[in-house]
């Protein structure tokens, strides 16, 4: 674990010391200004000099990654980008997750966070320039030694070659190179010169994750560390009236028990013990009287009825294109009216949530797999009453994230800080049991959609009227993102996927009713697209079926011409699935869906049958255009991952429900994400060749899979599936 000075960033000297110790050599330090990567922005803030690359005398190259790895593969992709421009020997490259520091902020977002599938898109140019600048410094060093022009040198595999057979390994040059000024401008490679980008490269963290040596937050063991569990109120926002901890304190290994405020409101009782098991046993023995007076009791059955009612009325307008009355001019026989229901969903990353903080009165140290490092850092400093510069945050590998490790209100970080503050000098690991996680809120919100579609004489949608009812993440949240995402009373994250659907529909009217419910909600991988794309893509499929046109052809005829990446993806899908589509056995059906998300186009086709009353997905084919495919092996993995995650909302046990304010699911016994049998047996992924800058891939595959499967099921049974999860077929 690297240690830092207290300036909030890493000073050049401290980095020199730490890297010398760690790598046994010197470093090539780079000072990257935001303006260098986000061309066109105003004057760059004065970041402390820092380093992304360390080259040891032994030639080993350590690349700092300014995003946490939660499975998405960024720990390999960003080093690949840098190493390519550096002309590094890939076998000598290792990666490290950067801590929270200004220099590691996302060059576009201005903060450290994992969100919106932005990592490769936003840091592609940044990491290329870092690599190119480091390479230029190494070349300049060699050229000076040899007294030749830098233009007479070339690089390959961590070696600089000069005229008359001279060569020098990067490790021999690194110490001198580190003393050179960092070049302002560098030439980046042309597409044909790239050697690592675009290759199928295996993950740098692959081995550590198969031999049990990879440490997650839950695995860290600091000297004297204690485990804390919080007994949380049965209703969101409920508080502690009184508690009896006599039996709990009798459990061997219990160190302390006290009340803590919860970020969402209300309070809980925290048990601090020597390990997880004593903490759990003690928590089970607490007798707590809760104060639940006046706390709203959300009930999903009641909410559903009220949402359906609201969906019959136009709410806040999100889009109004063409004639609002067009739909009424088409007769009932030319109109489809459909109501869709979507439940609350838990993220349930495999590694239960946890945060470690050691508070030492005048400073603090934090270990967390935070997807919003900058915000969590500031929140912890605020709770502890310390200047941010006195709080050092180490970022860790996360056992899955999907949005859950970056709650906008920073409640994971805040609650851990509130607990640690009571125990100065002791490292405290606040753990959420799986039950705490499943019952703990911060869900994908529940939604109802009501859609009326008028069909033109050509079988295409002539008019589309759509109302979305459900909670907003952002509206009235007071969060810094609110002004960017809430416009004219509409939270874009609620309507995305419908408001910007990819089809030509001349009359299109969308409104949304952002409800207020006492259930904390949070973005869930691919956010609004999860429900919006389900509605749009199943409805388009229904229209194609009514028009008796092949679902791929129908979409190709209807996609707006500017949807270039989606059209190229759809055409590739058509070609790549031609063989299996035409030879589907009896009892199996095709389902198709597509969309543009995070700048990437994706089209998906599935081959589905019904076995034991459940969809069996024999094959899923994806075709996509995400610009330059930095690591096709990772992109393929993200498609696998996104498809399985997207199926979470379709599998029978995939819903979170509340009765009289209480969450009805507790663990993976009743909230069941997809297991192997629910996932596609085979997945093939095809990429549209591209030299355009890369766009997002971490969330892109999520929205298309469940509508594709629902469309296949409709083809098999003749019924339309508009209520998720699908509990019976």
């Amino acid at each position: 674990m690297r240690r830092f000075d207290n300036t909030g960033g890493m000073s050049r000297r401290s980095f020199l010391r730490s890297s010398t110790a760690a790598a046994g050599g010197l470093l090539v330090a780079l000072y990257v200004e935001r303006s260098a990567v986000a061309a066109g922005t105003a004057a760059a803030p004065a970041f402390p000099p820092s380093a992304f690359v360390t080259i040891g005398a032994d030639g080993r190259i350590v690349i700092m990654v300014n995003r946490i790895e939660v499975g998405q593969g960024i720990h390999t992709s960003l080093p690949m980008i840098l190493a390519d421009e550096l002309d590094a020997d890939w076998a000598a490259v290792t990666a490290e997750i950067a801590p929270v520091a200004d220099v590691y902020k996302d060059p576009i977002l201005g903060m450290q966070m994992v969100a919106g599938s932005t990592a490769t898109a936003n840091s592609y140019r940044q990491y290329r320039e870092l690599g190119a600048k480091t390479r230029a410094m190494l070349v300049a060093t060699a050229a000076e030694r040899w007294r030749v022009g830098a233009d007479r040198c070339r690089t390959e595999n961590s070696v600089v070659y000069g005229p008359s057979g001279r060569s020098a390994r990067y490790g021999e040059l690194a110490a001198d190179a580190a003393r050179r000024p960092i070049p302002e401008k560098v030439r980046l490679k042309e597409p044909g010169e790239l050697r690592i980008i675009g290759k199928r490269v295996r993950r740098l963290d692959g081995r550590a994750k198969v031999d049990g040596s990879q440490k997650f937050g839950l695995d860290l063991d600091l000297p004297g560390m204690k485990t804390a569990l919080v007994a949380r109120p049965p209703l969101f926002g409920g508080g502690v009236k009184s508690f009896d901890d006599k039996a709990a304190r009798a459990v061997a290994g219990v160190r302390d028990i006290f009340q803590v405020p919860l970020t969402y409101g209300g309070s809980g009782v925290v048990v601090v013990a020597d390990g997880f098991w004593p903490a759990k046993q003690a928590r089970d023995r607490l007798k707590i009287e809760w104060d639940l007076a006046g706390v709203e009791r959300a009930d999903t059955a009641a909410l559903l009825a009220s949402y359906k009612d609201k969906a019959r009325r136009t709410a806040t307008v999100a889009a109004a294109i063409g004639d609002a009355g067009a739909i009424d001019k088409l007769g009932a026989d030319r109109t489809i009216v459909a109501e869709y229901e979507f439940p609350y969903l838990a993220h349930a990353p495999m590694e239960p949530l946890n945060t470690i903080i050691r508070y030492d009165r005048d400073r603090a140290e934090v270990w967390m797999a935070s997807m919003s490092g900058t915000a969590d850092h500031l929140a912890i400093a605020q709770v502890l009453g310390l200047p941010p510069a006195k709080v050092t945050c180490h970022l860790l590998f996360g056992g899955g994230g999907f949005g859950r490790r970056g709650p906008l209100d920073c409640h994971l970080a805040r609650e851990a800080a509130a607990v640690a503050k009571q125990l100065p000098g002791t490292a405290v690991k606040l753990v959420w049991t799986r039950e705490d996680d499943i019952r703990g809120g911060y869900y994908r919100p529940m939604f109802v959609h009501r859609v009326q579609v008028g069909i033109g004489a050509d079988g295409k949608p002539a008019a589309w009227k759509h109302v979305i009812v459900g909670q907003s993440f952002m509206k009235d949240s007071g969060l810094p993102f609110e002004p960017y995402l809430v416009k004219d009373g509409i939270d874009h994250l609620v309507v995305e996927g419908t408001v910007n659907h990819p089809y030509t529909i001349p009359n299109f009217h969308l409104s949304a009713d952002h409800t207020k419910v006492n259930v904390p909600v949070l973005s869930w991988r691919s956010i609004g697209h999860t429900h919006n794309s389900f509605v749009v893509e199943t409805m388009i499929d229904e229209l194609a079926a009514r028009a008796k046109v092949d679902p791929i052809e129908y979409r190709l005829r209807l996609l707006r011409p500017e949807e270039k990446r989606l059209i190229s993806s759809m055409k590739l899908l058509r070609d790549k699935t031609a063989a299996w589509r035409s030879s589907l056995p009896v009892g199996r059906a095709l389902g198709v869906a597509c969309g543009t998300y995070y700048g990437s186009g994706i089209a998906c086709a599935v081959d589905v049958s019904i076995e034991n009353g459940r969809p069996r997905i024999h094959r899923a084919t994806a075709a996509l255009d995400c610009g330059v495919a930095v690591n096709p092996m990772t992109i393929e993995a993200q498609v696998h991952s996104g498809f399985v995650f997207g199926l979470s909302q379709l599998v029978a046990g995939g819903a979170i429900t509340l009765a009289d304010g209480v969450v009805e699911q507790r663990n993976f016994d009743r909230f069941t994400p997809p297991y192997m049998a629910d996932a596609p047996v085979e997945i093939d992924v095809h990429l549209v060749p591209s030299t355009e800058a890369p766009t997002g891939m971490g969330e892109t595959p999520v929205p298309v899979i469940s509508p594709a499967v629902a469309n296949a099921l409709a083809a098999l049974t003749g019924k339309r599936y508009r209520t998720l999860p699908i509990t019976k077929l």
Binding site: E69, V70, G71, G73, R202, R203, D205, G206, R207, A208, K209, V210, D211, G212, S213, Q214, K215, F216, L218, D219, A252, D274, G275, F276, W277, P278, Q281, A348, P349, M350, E351, P352, F397, G398, G399, G400, G401, F402, R434, M633, A637, H640, S641, G642, F643, V644, F645, N667, F668, D669, T672, P673, P674, Y675, M676, A677, A679, V681, E682, I683
Partner: protein, 154 residues
């Protein structure tokens, strides 16, 4: 609190814990062997899978008092077994892992399968691997990797 003698990865270990403590937490908090993961604590996810006398077992469900003389093998010790090493290598070659958190359990389950059925059918793979949750959705590559390990171990 009570003393328990365990044999873990071929070594004799003594722990002093409450007899109700699940083997999972004895391994993780007591013996500092954190390769075995906590995912649910109720036997529903498989992240905590270890071998007890060669049988894949969910360690969150086994109180330390019931382990007895059975040999415990965890992810940290499985590479010493030829099948274990073959499975790990197949996993790396296939680039199975994503977040990696479930993978100790996946690997321990796959090793137990291949030791009892060196050449499992697709159905048998699904049957054996089907109860181990992977929230990252690495299932398709797991199928490939089991097959690869199977031909490797032969």
């Amino acid at each position: 609190m009570k003393d328990f003698q365990l044999e873990v990865n071929g070594e004799r270990r003594t722990v002093t814990v409450d007899p109700s403590t699940p083997l999972l937490w004895v391994l993780r908090d007591g013996l500092k062997m954190t390769g075995t993961k906590y995912g649910c604590g109720i036997g529903a996810c498989g992240a905590c899978t270890v071998h007890l006398d060669g049988v894949a077992t969910r360690s969150c469900l086994v109180p330390v008092s019931l382990v007895g003389a059975r040999r415990v093998v965890t992810i940290e010790g499985i590479a010493r077994d030829a099948v274990g090493a073959a499975v790990q290598d197949a996993w790396v070659e296939t680039d199975v892992v994503q977040c990696g958190y479930c993978q100790s359990g996946q690997i321990m389950t796959a090793v137990a399968l291949l030791k009892s059925k060196p050449d499992p059918s697709d159905g048998e793979v699904e049957q054996s691997m089907g109860g181990t949750l992977c929230r990252c959705g690495t299932y398709a590559r797991i199928r490939v990797a089991v097959r690869r390990a199977s031909s490797r171990a032969k």
